[in-house]
């Protein structure tokens, strides 16, 4: 049944989109879709496969110049930024450039937070946003910038999620990965806000991990280690917020503790206990009572059998002894 798409379309392999369409159209007119949906489905699959093959073949032979041209076309924003004359450029272009400059500047995260948020909001509220192409391009640009610029783009997240309805889109099964990434980042930010708000052990651990000057301390080690593990398992984007030196220092301390003799002995003891438990299981010692009861039951059964045989044998033995008596 599996025919090459080209056979089904009745043409030789080609990269010419028009030829593929013409062949598809010809084949489509030859079948009655309502009466025979199966052949339409097969034809459609062939059509899609052929177009895919053609597009891929075209991609492989494309030269660098053409490719850069298509990239320019796919990125209308940068292209139009580059082309527009500097004098009468609209506000949104200034905002985009300013945002890029801010995000990659040396200023601290907290210092740029307000301005990043303000410029993002202005970008979103701009009059050009009524146009769909512009809105789509801006949306894409903001999402990409947020993800690339973590953690310095925190100020952009809340206004963008609200304006573009990303929270709703993240509920859909076909949510694009980039929006998923933004929403995860947003959740992580909320988690950190909650941690800082609660002022508990986790908040202390977070502060210690953020402070490059803090000396790791054995008394805090357990809670810091647990917090770090939790971050890595559930809130991976937050690691970018921690001080690298602090994390290294705490990890070194943890490693040191891991290698120290008390921990080593404890691990050995645990391993020993685990092996004991497994042997215990292998020998059915955890079910010792069940095994004993089983043995008892078997013994009882044997006893019953022996007893029955004994009772049956009695008259026979009696009869044998009697016959011997008679003979004698």
């Amino acid at each position: 049944m599996t025919l090459e798409p080209w056979d089904r379309l009745g043409i030789a392999a080609t990269t010419d989109e028009t030829a593929i369409r013409r062949a598809y159209s010809r084949a489509l007119k030859a079948i009655d879709v309502d009466a025979d949906p199966a052949s339409f489905i097969a034809l459609r699959e062939a059509f899609d496969a052929a177009r895919w093959l053609a597009a891929n073949a075209a991609q492989n032979t494309i030269d660098v110049e053409a490719e850069s041209e298509t990239m320019m076309r796919e990125r209308p924003l940068e292209a139009s930024v580059a082309k527009a004359p500097p004098r009468d450029r609209p506000q949104w272009q200034h905002d985009i450039e300013a945002l890029q400059a801010l995000i990659w500047s040396e200023a601290s995260r907290e210092a740029i937070f307000e301005e990043v948020g303000m410029r993002t909001r202005r970008l979103i509220d701009g009059p050009e946003m009524a146009e769909i192409d512009h809105a789509t391009a801006i949306e894409q640009w903001i999402a990409e910038t947020i993800v690339i610029g973590i953690p310095r783009t925190n100020g952009m997240i809340a206004p963008a999620i609200e304006a573009f309805g990303w929270a709703d889109r993240a509920q859909r099964w076909d949510c694009p990965p980039i929006l998923d990434a933004v929403m995860r980042r947003h959740r992580d930010n909320q988690f950190i806000a909650a941690v800082l708000d609660a002022r508990g052990a986790e908040q202390r651990a977070f502060d210690l991990l953020r402070d490059p000057g803090a000396r790791p301390d054995r008394r805090q080690l357990t809670s810091v280690e647990a917090f770090l593990r939790r971050l890595r398992d559930y809130h991976p984007t937050i690691e970018a917020e921690l001080s690298e030196e602090a994390v290294t220092a705490w990890e070194a301390l943890a490693w040191q503790r891991y290698r120290a003799w008390p921990a080593r002995t404890a691990r050995r003891l645990r391993a020993f206990r685990a092996s004991m438990i497994s042997w215990y299981r292998i020998l059915y010692l955890d079910r010792i009572w069940a095994v004993l009861w089983m043995l008892l039951l078997i013994l009882f059964c044997l006893g019953a059998v022996v007893a029955t045989y004994g009772v049956a044998l009695l008259p026979i033995i009696g009869a044998l002894t009697q016959s011997r008596d008679r003979r004698s």
């Binding site: 489905i41 769909i132 099964w173």
Partner: protein
Amino acid sequence: MIVGIDLGTTNSAVACFRDGAPVLIPNNLGDLLTPSAVSIATDGTILVGMAARERQSTHPEVTATAFKRFMGTARKHKLGRRAFSPEELSALVLAALKADAEAWAGEPVTGAVITVPAYFNDLQRKATRRAGELAGLKVERLINEPTAAALGYGILDRGDREPFLVFDLGGGTFDVSIVEMFEGVIEVRASAGDNRLGGEDFNQILVEHVRAQMGAALPVPAKARTGHFDEVLRAAAERTRRRLSDVDQASFEFVWDGASHTAPVDAEAFETAAAPLLEQLREPVLRSMRDSGIRVDSLSEIVLVGGATRMPIVRRAVTRMFGRFPGTHVHPDHAVALGAAVQAGLKQRDSALDEIRLTDVCPFSLGVDTARRGPDGSLELGIFSPIIERSTVIPASRVHSFHTVSNNQKRIELNVYQGESRDVADNVHLGLIEVAVPSRPAGQVQVDVRFSYDTSGLLEVEIEVPLSGLKQQWLISNGDGDGSPEDLERRRAALAALKIHPRDDAANAATLARAARCYEGFIGERRALVEELIATLHQAIAGQDPRRIEMVRSEVEVALDQLEGERFL
């Protein structure tokens, strides 16, 4: 003869394919559009169309309009003593259209292509098909409204066309489709929409706006008459909204308890009040553009369809969205019915359409709910797993395999859903299928679920358990009744037993109903004049001379036109 029927929220139309072109069929009043309204006259007969619509504000308790909005739900409209389901009311409208077509063409109508909003879900589509069957029509096909409009537009010159966008804002529903034409193939690339957004919502907004504006000056109706009062306001809103299409300033006028009330409304204030609705138009457009991967600047045209796109505020919103003016090549009210007639022509294999083919897409994702074991072993339930993804070209057929999640699971319950949310609770539930499976350890039993989606947008599900060789088909019907042929026959008989108002009297009934509405809507001198007109018409009808009746009726219509402005559809 197969006809194409546009079964709309406010108006319906019927058309057929003749001599190489689609033709709209006029009804017995000579109008190309028939209001989708049903009313029960004082003598117990059923009025459909204009006469019923005119009775909306005078006899709201025995009149139903906009019932298309409740298609596929169990809601009943109580008209007098009998309760009608939305599909029965639609069936009455369809039967009236069928009678019009038969009277016009002089041959029986055997089948129909009926249009539905692209964003109608499976329940609503099935209800529409049942409505057609109840009306005694063989439903050859259901076709999406924007697709029909595109078909009608596409065969105009039959040339290849870059993708164009059909923006269909009707009385109650909103659809967007992106369509392309090549080599005689009209291909829908993507569809999106909102099946609860249309002209009626704009009326509602206008009523609320006026309510807020008038405040204490607004009369307070007695509890039992609030329904009536709402209808009066709605009718006034419709009139004002239509006037606002031409002028910047209109007055919202209505009469309640013999007193006349007016409130000035300017176009700008209306636009501000309607801003949330205009904002809702954006999301489906964005979705269809995303799904088709097409950019606005590569669209060759924006085609506006549906009566509500006449509103200047909607046109402005469209212009803002696309950065250009929409095209005005098609008639917003006729395009859908004409397209349906083209589809009917395709069905009849009309030789003029030999070189035309149409492919549509599935506007929703269809799938089942699944469960998943989390990393800690807990069972996560209700995750939507799509089988046919939206924008798949139909007819389509796809198989997905699922496995058991628990040891010794005895059966698998598959809930079929339609929608886009990850959480099935937010999607439309279409039905439930249970299959028995052999008990094995978790993950060792496989079921193959096949979804087949036909050209009318109706779904069939087949489940196979390869391990036991069991096959099962989806046999669940939703909506009222059990969906069996006997049940359908019984309901058809019940509908046929209803007495329909005689067709040749429909024009008189419509004029009388209009006069009655005007009588209630006017006070003073004008009311007296209307009373006189009614009396004259009654006299003429009693005289039973058809020529005289017609003459008097047209005189009355002209007089009413002068009194309240032209009658509109």
